[in-house]
C-alpha cells in the first residue's frame, strides 16, 4: 500500500491522440483535446507514481466511491 500523496493524476486514459499523418476532422481533434465523458462510476484514468518510481499506470476507479477495480501498465490496452 502506498499513500495517495505519492501519486499524481493524468486524466482520462481512454482519450487517444488521432494518428499522425492521417486526415482528421475538427470534430476528432475536439474530442481529443476538449470533450470528455467524465461519468459517475467506473473510469479509466492515468496516474503517475510521481514521488516514487515515476512510472505511469492506468487505473480503473469508481468516481463516486474511489474503489479501484483494475490497474494496467501504461502501454497495456484497456480491454
Amino acid at each position: 500500500m502506498r499513500s495517495q500523496n505519492e501519486f499524481s493524476y493524468g486524466g482520462d486514459a481512454t482519450v487517444k491522440r488521432p494518428e499522425l499523418g492521417k486526415e482528421i476532422s475538427d470534430q476528432d481533434w475536439d474530442n481529443f483535446v476538449y470533450n470528455r465523458k467524465s461519468l459517475r462510476g467506473k473510469h479509466w484514468e492515468l496516474w503517475q507514481h510521481l514521488s516514487g518510481c515515476r512510472q505511469w499506470i492506468k487505473v480503473q476507479r469508481d468516481t463516486a466511491t474511489h474503489e479501484i477495480f483494475k490497474t494496467l501498465k501504461a502501454n497495456e490496452d484497456i480491454s
Binding site: 475536439d30 474530442n31 476538449y34 470533450n35 470528455r36 465523458k37 467524465s38 459517475r40 484514468e45 463516486a64
Partner: protein, 418 residues
C-alpha cells in the same frame, strides 16, 4: 405574497410567528409547460425568476432531484467579484455586480450582500506586474481595482505573515474594493420565493432521468415523477452536467471534479476582507457568525463523491497557515465538498445547442455563485428569445471548436490542476 418588512415582522410577532405564508408551494407537476428548467440551484432558480420577470414567461417548472439549494449554491464559500482580465468575463461579471447590489431590494429578501473587498496577494515582482496588468484591464472596463504595496496590505490585514524569513513573502496585492460575499441560502430562497409568486412551479424530489428528442427537437423530459412536455428546456445542473449530457448523446468540454471547503470554530471579528494566497490555492474570509471560511484546490481527480479526502485539505490549510499563522490555533468545525462542472478553459457555457429548444448552462468551475444573477438573466434571455445576449455571446459552446477560448488563467485543459 406577504411582503417582508419591519411591519410584517411586528405584526407576525403578535401572533407568535405562526401565520407567516409559506415561502413557496409544493405543486404536483403538470403534464406540460412552456419552459422546463432542470436543476434548482442558484442558476436554475434565477433563470426562472428572470423568465417570469423580464420576459413574462410564467408557465415554467423547475425540476430539482433533491431540494432547492442542496447543491453547490448551498455549499460554496460565497465570494462575489468581477476581477477578470478578459472583456467577456469582466463585462458579464460586472453586469452581475450591479444585480448583486440591488438584489435584496429586488427580491424583498435579505441576501446579506457584503461588499467588503477582496485582496489577491502577490509574492514576487513578476506577480505584481501581472496584477498591475489585470488591474488596468479591469479599470478599462469600469471595474474598481487598486494595486497595494506591502505596507498598504499590512495596514489592512496585519494578521498575515509579514516576517522576513518566509518562503512566500508578501510583496503586495490587487484589491477589488467592491467585491465581497453574500448569504448563499438566502439567494436561492429569495429567487425561489419570487419565482413561485409569479407562477413558476418549483418541483422538488423529482429527478430528470431522460429526454424526449425527435427530429432534432426537444419535446420534453422523463422524470422520476412521470413525463413532462416542454418545447424549451434549460439545463442548469452544474456538477451533474456530464450525466445528463450523456443521456442526450452529447460529449461536452466539461469534467466533473470535487472542491472542498471548511470552516473553523467561530472567533471574534479579525478579518473584514476576502483574502487569497498568491503562491498556491487558498482563500479565506470570516462569516457573520465568526467562523473562518476557507477553501482552495480541487481534490485533483474526477469525482462525484460530494465529500473530499484529507490530502488536499491538509495541503490547502498548510498554505493558509503560511499566509496567516494564527489559523494553526483554531479548531476545524466542518468540512464539506461539492461537485464542480470544470470547463476546459475555466469559463462557463451559456448557449443554445444543436437540439432545437435545448439550452445549456454549465462549466461554472468554482466561480459560479457570483455569476448567479448574471447567469440567470442571460440564460433567461437566451431561452426566451432563442438567441444569446451580447453579454453571454463569448460563452458559446463552439468556442472550443473555433479556438476562441476564454482561458483567464492560461492553464489549458488540465482541469484538475486549475
Amino acid at each position: 405574497m406577504q411582503k417582508y418588512s419591519v411591519f410584517s415582522l411586528v405584526k407576525n410577532a403578535l401572533s407568535n410567528h405562526e401565520n407567516w405564508d409559506l415561502a413557496w408551494k409544493d405543486p404536483t407537476p403538470k403534464k406540460e409547460y412552456d419552459v422546463v428548467i432542470i436543476g434548482g440551484g442558484g442558476h436554475g432558480l434565477a433563470t426562472a425568476y428572470y423568465l417570469a420577470k423580464e420576459h413574462n414567461i410564467t408557465n415554467v417548472a423547475i425540476i430539482e432531484k433533491g431540494w432547492i439549494g442542496g447543491g453547490n449554491v448551498g455549499r460554496n464559500t460565497t465570494i462575489i467579484r468581477s476581477n477578470y482580465m478578459h472583456d467577456d468575463n469582466a463585462l458579464f461579471s460586472e453586469f452581475g455586480m450591479d444585480l448583486w447590489r440591488r438584489m435584496s431590494q429586488d427580491l424583498n429578501y435579505n441576501v446579506m450582500f457584503s461588499p467588503r473587498g477582496i485582496i489577491n496577494l502577490a509574492h514576487s515582482d513578476a506577480q505584481m506586474n501581472t496584477y498591475a496588468r489585470r488591474g488596468n484591464s479591469m479599470r478599462l472596463n469600469g471595474i474598481d481595482a487598486v494595486l497595494l504595496n506591502r505596507e498598504e496590505v499590512r495596514e489592512i490585514i496585519p494578521m498575515a505573515d509579514f516576517s522576513e524569513n518566509v518562503r512566500f513573502p508578501i510583496f503586495g496585492g490587487l484589491m477589488q474594493p467592491s467585491a465581497g460575499t453574500a448569504r448563499h441560502d438566502a439567494v436561492a430562497w429569495g429567487y425561489a420565493r419570487q419565482a413561485d409568486d409569479m407562477g413558476v412551479d418549483i418541483i422538488q424530489n423529482c429527478e430528470v432521468i431522460g429526454f424526449d428528442v425527435s427530429a432534432g427537437k426537444i419535446n420534453g423530459v422523463r422524470t422520476s415523477r412521470g413525463d413532462i412536455k416542454a418545447k424549451k428546456i434549460g439545463l442548469c445542473v452544474a456538477g451533474s452536467t456530464n450525466i445528463l449530457a450523456e443521456k442526450l448523446n452529447m460529449t461536452l468540454p466539461i469534467e466533473t471534479h470535487l472542491l472542498q471547503a471548511c470552516v473553523s470554530e467561530p472567533v471574534k471579528p479579525v478579518l473584514d476582507k476576502v483574502v487569497t494566497f498568491g503562491a498556491g490555492h487558498f482563500y479565506i474570509s470570516q462569516s457573520d457568525k465568526g467562523e473562518m471560511v476557507m477553501g482552495g484546490d480541487l481534490d485533483g481527480y474526477n469525482s462525484y463523491a460530494q465529500r473530499g479526502n484529507l490530502p488536499t485539505l491538509q495541503h490547502v490549510l498548510t498554505e493558509g497557515i503560511a499566509m496567516m499563522p494564527f489559523l494553526s490555533k483554531l479548531k476545524m468545525l466542518r468540512t464539506w465538498g461539492g461537485i464542480m462542472d470544470m470547463s476546459m478553459d475555466g469559463s462557463p457555457i451559456i448557449d443554445k445547442t444543436h437540439i432545437e429548444g435545448l439550452y445549456l448552462n454549465c462549466g461554472w468551475c468554482y466561480g459560479g455563485f457570483k455569476a448567479t444573477p448574471a447567469s440567470g438573466w442571460t440564460f433567461a434571455h437566451t431561452i426566451a428569445q432563442d438567441r444569446v445576449h451580447e453579454l453571454n455571446a463569448g460563452y458559446s459552446l463552439n468556442r472550443f471548436n473555433t479556438g476562441h477560448l476564454l482561458d483567464e488563467k492560461g492553464l489549458g485543459t488540465k482541469t484538475w490542476i486549475s
